[in-house]
Symmetry: C2
Subunit: 216 residues, 2 copies
């Protein structure tokens, strides 16, 4: 629900402005859908325009370039799925609760193939430093890892996660599992139960690193 500032105008919007905002929003939705299957490079702005009911130039009125359209898409995605992990506006889940939150994220993702496809496609494309989404991708991984690292360390401090747990490796592996399951799921959605597999993974972690809270 967080739109760019200039769309939350306090005064009433004219018909034209409303139509403009709708065109823009529809273009972003269409772009997500197309980027998620054909990727950024594989999608032409002409096709986005067509499916959004606009001419190519009409689309480029809202987004000065294709890269600008991609940025709008990324912002929209971040808005849509953000604060799912960090908690709505309370504090982020800590310790094992963080893994439960991740499980919830997987459950939500398994009903949103477009968002998963978008992420998987862009993750591969944007490895290239010159890609317009490269720094977005780097930031995504950095912040995800930092979020999970903090949560695990908090769990160690509170005594629910074993102090010997290899934090860095657990973070890397958890992120890898999330990404890897998405890849397999996209390739053949019916053959794999992402939530089930991730739950199994977390159960293994708990079996190895869980500690009963010790209030000495």
């Amino acid at each position: 629900m967080s739109f760019p500032p200039h769309y939350r105008t306090p005064r009433a919007r004219s018909r034209v402005e409303a139509a403009g905002a709708e065109s823009r929003a529809k273009a972003v939705r269409v772009a997500i859908e197309l980027f998620s299957t054909a990727g950024y490079r594989g999608t032409s702005i002409a096709l986005v325009a067509e499916k959004a009911g606009l001419s190519q130039s009409g689309l480029l009125h809202h987004f000065p370039s294709k890269a600008a359209l991609l940025m709008a898409v990324l912002e929209h995605r971040q808005a849509e799925d953000s604060r799912f992990l960090t908690g709505n506006d309370d504090r982020p889940p800590l310790g094992w609760a963080a893994f439960d939150a991740l499980t919830g994220l997987v459950a939500r993702n398994s009903q949103r193939p477009e968002l998963v496809g978008l992420f998987v496609r862009l993750s591969a494309e944007a490895i290239e430093p010159a890609h317009p989404a490269h720094s977005w991708l780097s930031d995504h991984y950095t912040s995800t890892r930092s979020w999970l690292t903090d949560a695990i360390q908090a769990g160690q401090n509170s005594g629910e996660i074993h102090p010997d747990a290899p934090v860095t490796a657990l973070v890397r592996l958890t992120v890898a599992v999330l990404d890897g399951l998405q890849q397999q799921w996209l390739l053949d959605p019916d053959s794999i139960d992402m939530v089930g597999e991730f739950t199994t993974f977390v159960a293994g972690l708990r079996a190895q690193w869980h500690l009963t809270p010790d209030r000495s």
Copy 2:
């Protein structure tokens, strides 16, 4: 070392034939390098030709289409890295030895960023059913999973892996970890030790599912 049949001619090759084979091989090497960073869609055959020291038409003499070039690349990769897991020409490793073999594969991959990049890029691109490498990708996952499934079940039968181990999930998770670690490694190679992380993963599996062989 397994080249397509028509390159293992028993008779001596003429100069022209030898030059032709070299151009072709060089083109494949260059294509791997470019596909691995810019992807298939993001790489023009003109650029491949230039870096291979050929004109565009000269390249297209060897590969009638861009898709044909991709196929040659995939065959080359399969030849290069194949039989690493299935054993050189003896039987494939079974039980925990399969995971050790995978660790070896990770170690080898961490010295071949081009091959890893190629795979990661194509894995994302070729999710699309219309992509020329789509069925190659499906086959890759199917055969990898089947290889690992067989190895784990053999380990259960021989008594070194716990019979309650959830085979399907372990296979899915192991493949996910392999893929996911590669993604993170490509994005920032120096920040992650793929072999170390994968070893930690396998150690966790052993801790949970290892059984001392029981010769009752």
